[in-house]
């Protein structure tokens, strides 16, 4: 009974984490791009005259999306057309189950592992979920019975499947060092030794690049291609479009969370152990709840940094052409990933 309560609590935290960040990113995207371009950005949405720098904008967006007519083309496949955005959001959300957001927390003498699903093959689960994410896009595009949407779906499948390969290969080097697939163990290993980006700088850069490509956002957005084909969500309006829109942002949070877990020590805080801080000049004991709180905060702050970085990249770099995306994926990122594995293996052999 207690276990169910703990599981529900962790589930609530992860859902609030993913959906909260996903929702607020719609506001962050507008505000950050505005500040980068000497503008002010969305600041008009208000409740009873209360504006708080436009933070009600996501709420206004949500109300707009829900109240708009949800149009379905006459020849569209009713079931799949309606279901596809939900599939898209679902596979973006379930990945969070294996992300560890803290170490062990003791509540009433019971040890609670701050990770919803302690899978020993966490990474493989993440790849499986990321591989399924393309289905929401392709099914939605195909079911709309629109040539431009179909074109967007084809581009999405080609891009996401080719980057899936590089995504898997790019972290092989890191996994060879960690020697485990369990994400919680990976984070603990990084706490005991070094954070991943020190040992695997190339792997980190490759993973971040491929991860951004997986989110289908601007440097890699041929599936949307707003200036040429409107994209796979062409026929969607109202909340159907809203869900695709949200999927992009949840995937952004997802990629940030995975990057932090694999390469930036997850919930690790420098010098913090389970008993408290251990500085080179002394120790500072902390209770278990304070350590857990610091770890969760550390994870959140790191994720927020990577969200900022992805937003900066999205508003700085121009978009790739479709052929450039595929050329970059197959001819550049994949060979470098393979070379990374080879060199990592050689170094490991030499050290042993």
């Amino acid at each position: 009974m207690e276990d169910i309560g703990f599981a529900l609590g962790k589930l609530a935290f992860l859902l609030i984490f993913a959906l909260g960040f996903g929702g607020i990113l719609t506001w962050v995207e507008r505000k950050q791009s505005a500040v980068m371009q000497d503008r002010i950005g969305a600041n008009r949405a208000s409740i009873f005259g209360l504006r708080i720098i436009g933070l009600f904008q996501p709420l206004a967006d949500a109300i707009k999306m829900f109240t708009k007519e949800s149009f379905r083309p006459a020849n569209a496949d009713k079931v799949i057309f309606t279901l596809a955005p939900t599939i898209s959001v679902f596979f973006a959300l379930v990945g969070f189950a294996v992300i560890p957001f803290g170490d062990v927390l003791y509540i009433g003498g019971k040890a609670v592992n701050l990770q919803l699903a302690p899978l020993s093959v966490g990474i493989l689960y993440l790849f499986a979920v990321a591989g399924m994410a393309v289905y929401g896009v392709v099914l939605g595009a195909w079911a709309s019975r629109n040539n431009f949407a179909l074109l967007g779906g084809l581009r999405a499948s080609a891009q996401m499947l080719s980057y899936e390969v590089a995504l898997g290969v790019s972290i092989m080097g890191a996994l060879m060092i960690y020697q485990t697939l369990d994400l919680q163990e990976i984070v603990r290993w990084q706490g005991a030794h070094y954070w991943g980006f020190i040992l695997q700088p190339v792997g980190f850069l490759l993973f971040l690049t491929v991860g951004i490509a997986e989110t289908k956002r601007v440097p890699f957005d041929p599936p949307e291609g707003e200036s040429e084909i409107i994209g796979y969500f062409l026929e969607y309006s109202g909340m159907g479009f809203g869900m695709y829109f949200l999927t992009d942002f949840i995937e952004t949070v997802m990629i940030s969370a995975i990057t932090v877990t694999l390469f930036f020590g997850g919930w690790q805080v420098p010098c913090l152990t389970a008993a408290g801080f251990v500085f080179p000049w002394g120790e500072w004991a902390l209770p278990n709840w304070a350590v857990a709180l610091l770890q969760v905060t550390s994870f959140t702050v790191k994720v927020m940094f990577f969200l900022w970085l992805q937003m900066t990249i999205r508003w700085t770099l121009p978009r790739f052409r479709y052929d450039q995306v595929l050329r970059l994926g197959w001819k550049v990122l994949l060979p470098i990933s393979l070379a990374n594995i080879l060199i990592t293996g050689l170094v490991i052999l030499l050290i042993q």
Partner: protein, 196 residues
């Protein structure tokens, strides 16, 4: 000159595009942090010389306008409040958009003025704001210095501007930029407006 001479071939490091990417990210993120610092300082009430944004929050903060800008028309008045216009039809004749309609009237009790306008209408829906009417007027009776830019209406008839309305209008000095002797802009409202 061969057009290709302008471009020197990229070396290997440049061909990876990584230096370009990092230079771009550096530029945009530095601008982000500089503007965020300015916004934060403004939020706690510290004025900085460099502003975080160039935006005017339009309905609340009006952008200053320059004195030579042609805005909505007004008719000037004599000391007794009657229109200065003598219905000479100069403006109506010169108007390239033909949007001025004057009906003249006699004024027998004032021998120094032969004619006065009975009605003086301008169709703002047709007006192209060229300012020829102001140039043509021999009596300085029509001016375009009200500072009113927000001209809109739901009907075409609503765009008609009649004599009684135009006689009541005054130049709006609040919106005009002010200069000092050196010709620099000194209007405090201008700086305040930009800082908000």
């Amino acid at each position: 000159m061969n057009v290709h001479d302008k471009y020197k071939p990229l070396n290997f490091w440049e061909r990876t595009y990584l230096p370009g990417i990092f230079a771009g990210l550096w530029l945009t993120s530095m601008r982000f942090f500089r503007n965020m610092a300015a916004h934060t300082l403004h939020a706690v009430g510290i004025k900085t010389k460099r502003l975080g944004a160039v935006t005017f929050q339009y309905p609340e903060v009006l952008r200053p306008i320059f004195p030579r800008l042609r805005t909505m028309h007004r008719l000037t008045r004599r000391e007794d409040g009657s229109p200065r216009c003598v219905a000479c039809m100069m403006c109506e004749t010169v108007c390239p958009a033909r949007c001025i309609y004057i009906i003249a009237d006699e004024k027998p009790d004032q021998p120094q003025i032969e004619k006065v306008p009975k009605s003086f209408d301008i169709d703002l829906g047709l007006c192209i704001f060229c300012g020829y009417c102001v140039e043509a007027c021999p009596e300085d009776a029509i001016r375009m210095d009200t500072g009113i830019l927000e001209i809109s209406n739901l009907t075409r008839n609503g765009m008609m501007l009649d004599m009684q309305t135009m006689l009541k209008l005054e130049p709006d000095s609040r919106r005009y930029v002010k200069y000092n002797e050196k010709g620099e802009i000194v209007s405090a409202e201008y700086i305040e407006a930009k800082g908000s």
